[in-house]
């Protein structure tokens, strides 16, 4: 159980990273949200078998991590934690798609394996950039940016509460699981009946706790708005940041840079 609690504590660290004070942190969150969106759309819109063209996109997370002073190993661990989902999505591709796409000497690589790698790469890029952006922006400030960009307030508040209550839920869950573990005496496996009542109980308890948290918020004048500490404006820096990166992503999307460089050098060598 400690491992789940540990992972949770570790996840909260992301929120604290966002309180840093680098040039990136000071940037208007809207600029960062926009750039992230362009990045994700560019990466996701690649063809099914594309791999090489995605490689230049790694430039962005690398630069942001170094400018934003984020701990690399921490981010890598978080991506690794989420990557099994991508693996599950792509795991059957090699089984169904057996057409040989690349021939490397005697070894033929099927389309399934290529698309599997492509899915995995995409997941790493998008999840990584999303995490990094939360790390340099903060969840509530990101939500605030979404609201100022025109997302209805109801959705924004939903999103914020979802994020807050994930911690509440996992806290309660960890406690319940610990209590169960202490009374199962090392017996593996969970009986279905016990599991059902445990989950039901968890839901009710989380509900009550969420209500108390909400009351505490109301007590302190919460009226549906999350305020942010810094005041932002969309200035020249933001314009340069947004358009610079966006153009670069679109360029990377249209031109396969590694292929272009490769053919350029082979041309030179000839």
């Amino acid at each position: 159980m400690t491992s789940i609690e540990g992972a949770l504590l570790d996840f909260k660290r992301l929120d604290r990273l966002a309180t840093g004070d680098t040039a990136l942190h000071r940037l208007d969150p809207r600029a960062k949200v926009l750039v992230t969106l362009v990045f994700i759309i560019s990466v996701v819109s690649f063809g099914k078998y594309e791999i090489s063209a995605m490689v230049p996109f790694f430039l962005f997370p690398v630069i942001i991590v170094s400018l934003g002073d984020l701990p690399v190993s921490y981010i890598v661990k978080k991506i690794a934690l989420l990557s099994p989902f991508a693996l599950i999505v792509g795991i059957f591709n090699p089984v169904f798609d057996r057409q040989i796409l690349v021939q490397m000497g005697p070894i033929g690589i099927s389309g399934g394996w290529v698309s599997f790698a492509s899915i995995f790469l995409r997941a790493v890029l998008t999840v990584g950039v999303a995490l990094i952006m939360v790390g340099v922006t903060g969840f509530s400030e990101g939500c605030n940016a979404l609201e100022r960009m025109g997302l209805p307030k109801a959705f924004v508040v939903q999103l914020l509460f979802l994020y807050r209550y994930i911690f509440v839920l996992t806290d309660e869950g960890a406690r319940t699981a610990r209590a169960r573990e202490l009374r199962t005496f090392g017996r593996k496996g969970m009986e279905m009946k016990a599991f059902a009542s445990l989950v039901g109980n968890l839901l009710l308890r989380t509900w009550e706790r969420a209500e108390r948290v909400y009351r505490a918020m109301l007590c302190r004048g919460f009226n549906g708005e999350f305020h942010v500490r810094r005041s932002y404006s969309f200035g020249l820096k933001e314009i340069v940041f947004t358009f610079g990166w966006s153009f670069l992503f679109i360029f990377f999307r249209q031109v396969n840079v590694p292929w272009f460089l490769g053919s350029f050098f082979t041309e030179l060598l000839r």
């Binding site: 604290r16 807050r164 505490a216 109301l218 007590c219």
Partner: protein, 277 residues
């Protein structure tokens, strides 16, 4: 300064499952008064507190805070006047850092960034927790959490402080520290507690609740001497008013008369006794 008054008139409340929690409660807490609401588990203390801030609406009767009756329209004003510290500080601390948490209230009041900053620093200083400013709440000890939770409420500069079991779960030192802090406050204060020694030390009025009604209301020294009343409400005298386990003298009694220095080391063990409670 009439907005420092809390008045409850003939309050009735029945939960949706027909459990009667309050059965006609009336009292009036005046400006600067420190009142304790005591009673056994299930006597209705927490339900009563939830009424003072409008989280529950009475089935019958009325709550008045300051000059306003508590209604939907006055609710935001009342919540600003009444600062409520919850029993479990984990419910109250929900932002990523202590600073953000204390700033949450003032930001909601629409104060400027500089004003928010001074308020955060002032209220953390009041509870001796300035050094915790940058820490995340889940890394704090129980005593620190409690003090920060109080700071989050102080930052809203309420006129009335309502606290649910402020000393529950604290170690003796943290409890002492908290009592010393609460003693300094000039707010109108309402506590619920099972820590009757704290009540004796902090409050000039005790309201005893039992099964949804007010059984007694008076100064603590008077209430705590009425053993029949206490027993009928599942309560006991505070430890400092009970007999000394060694010689059956009470701290109180000993304070009143001068003790002979070598009277079986009374001074020593009672001094000790006093420190621990």
């Amino acid at each position: 300064m009439s907005h420092h008054i809390v008045e409850v008139k003939d309050l009735h409340f029945t939960y949706p499952d027909n459990t009667v929690a309050l059965n006609g409660i009336s009292f009036r807490v005046h400006h600067g008064e420190a009142a304790a609401i005591i009673g056994a588990n299930g006597a209705g203390k927490s339900t009563l507190l939830l009424h003072l801030n409008g989280f529950l609406a009475p089935t019958r009767g009325q709550v008045r805070v300051g000059d306003f009756p508590l209604t939907k329209e006055t609710l935001p004003e009342v919540r600003r006047t009444v600062g409520m510290v919850f029993q479990d500080p984990d419910d109250q601390l929900f932002m990523p850092t202590v600073y953000d948490d204390v700033a949450f209230g003032p930001l909601n009041l629409g104060l400027s960034c500089e004003e928010v900053e001074t308020r955060v620093k002032e209220s953390l200083a009041l509870v001796g927790a300035e050094h915790l400013m940058g820490k995340p709440p889940y890394r704090l000890s129980g005593g620190e959490k409690r003090r920060v939770a109080i700071a989050t409420v102080l930052a809203m500069s309420p006129s009335i402080l309502v606290m649910d079991e402020p000393t529950a779960g604290l170690d003796p030192y943290a409890r002492r520290q908290l009592i010393a802090i609460l003693k300094e406050f000039k707010h109108t204060r309402i506590f619920t507690s099972h820590d009757l020694d704290m009540v004796l030390e902090l409050c000039n009025r005790v309201i005893v609740m039992h099964e949804g009604i007010v059984k007694a209301d008076g100064p603590p020294t008077e209430i705590f001497r009425d053993d029949a009343l206490l027993a009928s409400c599942h309560l006991e005298r505070p430890f400092s008013m009970q007999g000394c386990p060694i010689c059956s003298g009470t701290v109180e009694a000993l304070k009143q008369r001068i003790i002979h220095p070598d009277d079986h080391h009374h001074n020593d063990h009672h001094h000790d006794h006093d420190d621990h409670h």
